[in-house]
Amino acid sequence: MSELQRLVLLVPYLRAHPGVTVDEVAREFGVTPKRVLADLGILQYVGLPGGFYGDLFEVDLGGAREYGDIFVRNVDALGRPMRLGRDEAASLMAALQVVMDLGGDDEGARSALAKLEAVTSLRPDAVEVEVATGDADVVAALKEALADGRVVQLDYRTGGRGSRRRAEVEPARLRTDGGYAYLDAWSRTRDGWRSHRLDRIDRVEILDEHVPPRDVPASLDTWFSDAGRELTVTVTNAGRWCADYHPTTAVERVDDGWRITFPLVSIDWAARLLLRLGSAVTEVSDPAVTEAARSLAREALAHYGGVL
């Protein structure tokens, strides 16, 4: 932030926070206390044209030096901060939109957005972030459990086929990342920290038991990071999209196509990816995955027995 930017912001800030300390202002603006006093020194000579007593800002510089708190008067000429520019409004509104989605149509975020729209007269549509948050009842139940610090029982599906699971977990945090919302929780069933994608949770039951205090890791491994194996698939240009929508460890240009390496989380997931890619696949590194894709396809084709 330039000195000018800071001064333009400092005047309304001091007006809105009478008696604020030099140290607090230094923290707010990311400068040293000495710099704050120097800024106050400049502001003494700023004010309405004329430059006489009554025109200039009144800054109690002596008081600030001696007691460390700041009082200003007669600063109404620059008493309000600047409007939010397009970039500030667009960025903050996009962020609020995500907060609103994460909170299951969070009331506070919704009304804050409406107020910002009114004071900026800008439409919040430069950036749009879509977050898959799943079922509204699930989000509401998890929010309630988090607020009350209660253990929950989750019914959820894993990425693969036919795998419904149930786990007793201690909810720690709801978060969004990369287009999805997750619950970070200590899983009693699995005895470890787990992230559950909200759109894969079918049902939440709040149990009559409180969550014991635990240190929540700042970041939790995403679902694929504990995959020990990798899968390399070579695809034609028509299949390149798969590198955009799935985590990869390598993407390489090869003759007439792309060689893409994925962390291999589950054979079932990988087999379904092959089905999706269809004729775009030219080579698969793991025969087990190829075999799984074949067997899924055969099983599917059996439904259409009459057609074959």
Partner: protein, 306 residues
Amino acid sequence: MSAAKSERVMNLLIALLSTKRYLTKAELREMVEGYRHTESFDRTFERDKAELRALGVVIRTGSNDPDSDDEDGYRIDRDDFELPEVEFSGAELVAIGLAAHAWQTSVGAEATATALQRLRAAGAEPDVARLPNLRAHIPVAEPAFDPIYRALLEHRAVRFTYDGRVRNLQPWRLLQRKGLWLVLGHDTDRGAVRRFKLARIEGIPEPVGPAEAFQPPADVESRLDAVPEVRAVVAVRDVPELLAASTPVAWDAPVPEGFVVVEVTGFNEPMLVTEIVAAGPDAIVLDPPKVRDAVVRSLLEWGGGQ
């Protein structure tokens, strides 16, 4: 910036803000402390104006004489400049506090920080620590994001290489879908609305031409998501991806145990077929025959031959 300069530009800002009529350069030279004794007044004044405009201050030019076309006067409209009075409730401040950290890097992070500072300078105290159990992140990994975001906000065209070809785009909107950043806009070479994946852009996009060169249309919304055009009736068991965008329908013929009959939609046939094929044995197309045949053909890629 020297203290004398900051003091002078601040005084110029206040003079322009506090006047009801346009002030000429000569008047400003007399009024503003710091100009009176400047020898190179013209140059200093131009620089000071540029300094204020760089902050985002809108300086209007014009004349007090309604019959004159002269633009020799200056003023700042207080309504252009000031954040209007706004008060936030406790719940709103919690939401704003959570929003404050959504952008980790990128122009978005800087802009949000500035927005929060302005709100705090207006007396609002966003609650940044109250709810550590909610965390909204907007990840940005694509290096193309920042230059495109800047250009989009400035209504300026960008040029970049995509699929080996140079594209010129008037960016209208940045979208994150399934964690993937896309830019939608008017491709001026093709004269058509196009969207591009940021991750596929080669190199760093460059701004082209002046700012405010175009106005995004009011109906970007309607150009965003084409209306799903293809429908199919499918018997499904346990496929959240398919069930998410489906509606239950009545179906007279029997279906295997554990299956429910729904109608699913897709933007085009290949996309719909791909989704159904990925469901493998957990989805059976019942109608129309065209989609059913396409799914069977696609499944034969893997399941045929034995």
